[in-house]
């Protein structure tokens, strides 16, 4: 495929994206508008993440793509193949080997390190969107740090359910300033964002927004002093394949009699543990 530029986008577009990324890094948690391009995959399928990844990639990079924590889900495969074709970069499934990881809905279990870039696909970048549908209003609310309404919603959750009833896309406050949507990751993953040594970039293609968490940024999940945030997951379960108790688990229905099992959602984490156990046994 020689008719397209390295990593698909033309250099002028990449320059525009990099400017937006730099601005986003300079103002952690602030949503930078950018002129999103039509990509050869549909809006809502990771076009924001793909554009950010395309702007970051250099030929020496090693790319990993996951969806739901897994390397082999169909959309992850599709995006990885896309970059293998248009950028000819090395791809990997190993978190430790990747220099750029594009993800949808998960953060890898293995802690990220200095120099790694994690690119999130974001459907709705605006954490206030479900409280206020108008962009003109929500931008003003961010500008004025007018976040009372968000806290009111959390109050309402506790009043009604006895706890904050948010399981994913749990809002965070970045460096004590902007409220940010961490994308639809389970809240189990939220603590991984706090002071991570890796660079986290968020791309929302349809909505034309890029935002970022530079390395070592303070990220707090919103809560109340007497109802502190907890990073929950399936209670009292362990992975049926590798036995992990500390990873986020997917539930799998095994028969039609209510049988179910739990397995790691992060396939690389699970496979690495299984391999290590096999080695120990040998």
């Amino acid at each position: 495929m020689t008719d397209y530029n390295f990593a698909y986008l033309d250099e002028a577009t990449k320059r525009m994206l990099r400017r937006a990324i730099l601005k986003a890094v300079a103002i952690p948690g602030y949503q930078v508008p950018f002129s999103s391009r039509e990509m050869p995959m549909p809006y809502g399928w990771g076009t924001g993440g793909v554009q950010v990844t395309a702007a970051c990639l250099v030929p020496e990079d090693t790319l990993k793509v996951i969806d739901q924590g897994a390397d082999d889900t169909t959309n992850a495969v599709s995006i990885r193949n896309f970059f293998a074709r248009v950028a000819r970069v090395t791809t990997t499934e190993a978190t430790a080997e990747a220099s750029v990881i594009q993800t949808r809905h998960r953060i890898p279990e293995r802690p990220l390190t200095d120099g790694q870039i994690l690119v999130f696909q974001v459907p709705i970048p605006e954490p206030l969107r479900f409280l206020e549908p108008r962009e003109t209003e929500t931008r003003t609310m961010h500008a004025l740090e007018d976040y009372g309404l968000m806290q009111v919603r959390l109050y309402e959750d506790i009043a009604r359910h006895g706890e904050i009833a948010r399981a994913y896309a749990y809002p965070v406050r970045v460096e004590g300033r902007y409220i940010m949507d961490p994308s639809p990751i389970p809240k189990f993953d939220n603590p991984k964002l706090d002071r991570s040594p890796a660079l986290h970039l968020f791309g929302a293609g349809r909505e034309g927004r890029i935002y970022a968490l530079p390395p070592h940024t303070r990220v707090e999940s919103l809560d109340f002093e007497d109802y502190p945030f907890t990073a929950s997951k399936a209670a009292g379960q362990r992975c049926a394949i590798c036995g992990a108790e500390d990873s986020y688990l997917d539930e799998v229905i095994t028969d039609d009699a209510g049988g179910r099992m739990f397995v790691c959602s992060d396939t690389d984490y699970c496979a690495t543990r299984v391999a290590a156990q096999a080695e120990d046994a040998a």
């Binding site: 397209y4 698909y8 033309d10 508008p33 950018f34 002129s35 999103s36 039509e38 990509m39 050869p40 549909p42 809006y43 809502g44 399928w45 076009t47 969806d67 739901q68 924590g69 897994a70 082999d72 889900t73 169909t74 959309n75 992850a76 495969v77 599709s78 193949n81 809905h105 459907p123 108008r134 962009e135 003109t136 359910h161 006895g162 706890e163 009833a165 948010r166 399981a167 994913y168 896309a169 639809p184 990751i185 389970p186 809240k187 349809r206 034309g208 929950s232 997951k233 399936a234 209670a235 049926a240 394949i241 688990l249 997917d250 539930e251 095994t254 099992m261 397995v263 959602s265 396939t267």
Partner: protein, 359 residues
């Protein structure tokens, strides 16, 4: 022991092979040529060009073939291609009064310089299935007369000369480009028109219809609808003169709407404007009505929450590539989010049951 589902890669390859096979269909039926699509499904080609915002009938025909006739999918193919093209510059504004007319009608004047031309229209056909068409009949050419070369000035310009039609004022020095700069609100009219020109025909039709039914009503007449060919030229600084580089088919609609006047302006007519690639008058009329509805704030009209008057609502939702992509993304795996919801629901139910037991 359970093994996590593998083979996404092969599944995708096989699905694509099946798609190619299904697209071709029964091999005993001749393969569809692009020229056939371009010539005989011309209005579908026009719609793909308009919403794909790329004027190239051959590419649009290819996209329609590749998309198996799914127009939005074809628009998507064109958009994804268009986005990779370098942008050299902007053409000079086209002067639609210079159009070589195929069709030109007015609902406001019975006759005007240049006359009314019905052109190749479905209007006044009886919508009876023509079973002869199934037999590939010979179609005799339509009768022709030699047209007198005549100017066809815009009908609304006559109102303008009388001072009864609000002028539009000069445009900005730079043409805004929706595809190169992020959309921000409030958006100027040029940008709104750009978004509407590539907006989904069905969405704009429904919005325009809603204004007629009272949601942001501003009674509209079709002042003029014209379809025809126009030459497009550009000024090349390197050459120091203009060159013509294309001839394109356009549909233009100017609506005439009432305006009660304001503190500073006397009562006069105002204009809604629609301009679309190809022959697409439903879209052009819809666009004109929606354009006029979106001017409510500027004209100080009542804003009663009608969707068609709401710039943010219209511009954020008129693009069918954005909307269909996001709509269809909910069929992608959401195991993780769903699992999180599942756990939350179970926990809330456990807690509620425990509270009930305690009471």
């Amino acid at each position: 022991m359970y093994v996590a589902v593998k083979g996404g890669e092969r599944a995708i390859e096989n699905a694509h092979a099946w798609l190619d096979d299904a697209r071709r269909g029964d091999r005993d039926v001749p393969d569809l040529g692009l020229a056939q699509i371009r010539e005989q499904l011309a209005l579908a080609v026009d719609r793909v060009m308009a919403e794909g915002s790329l004027h190239d009938p051959d590419l649009a025909a290819l996209a329609l073939k590749q998309a198996r006739g799914d127009v939005i999918e074809a628009v998507f193919l064109i958009r994804a291609f268009r986005t990779t093209l370098p942008r050299f510059g902007a053409s000079l504004p086209v002067d639609t009064s210079q159009m070589q007319i195929l069709r030109r009608i007015s609902a406001t004047y019975k006759d005007a310089p240049g006359g009314q031309v019905l052109g190749p229209t479905f209007d006044y056909t009886h919508r009876l299935l023509d079973f002869d068409l199934a037999q590939a009949p010979d179609v005799p050419p339509a009768p022709e007369i030699k047209a007198e070369p005549a100017d066809t000035p815009h009908i609304l310009s006559h109102l303008g000369a009388e001072g009864l039609m609000q002028g539009e004022g000069p445009g900005g020095p730079e043409v805004p480009d929706l595809t190169r700069t992020p959309l921000e609100f409030p958006a100027e009219r040029a940008l709104r028109l750009q978004a509407l020109a590539r907006g989904d025909e069905g969405f704009l039709l429904s919005l325009a219809y809603s204004t007629q039914r009272g949601y942001g009503r501003n009674h509209a007449f079709v002042g003029e609808l014209r379809i025809g060919h126009l030459r497009v030229s550009a000024h090349l600084p390197e050459l120091g003169f203009e060159i013509e580089f294309a001839e394109i088919l356009l549909t233009e609609c100017e609506s005439v709407n009432q305006f009660q006047g304001s503190k500073t302006e006397p009562a006069q007519f105002t204009r809604g404007y629609g301009l679309v690639f190809g022959q697409s008058e439903r879209k052009a009329i819809s666009m004109a009505l929606v354009d006029r509805a979106l001017r409510a704030r500027e004209l100080g009209e009542d804003m009663d929450g009608a969707p068609a008057q709401d710039e943010e609502f219209v511009l954020s939702h008129c693009d069918n590539i954005q909307s269909s992509g996001f709509l269809e993304h909910i069929k992608l795996p959401h195991y993780v989010d769903f699992q999180a919801e599942l756990e939350l629901i179970r926990k809330l139910r456990r807690d509620a049951a425990a509270r009930q037991a305690a009471e």
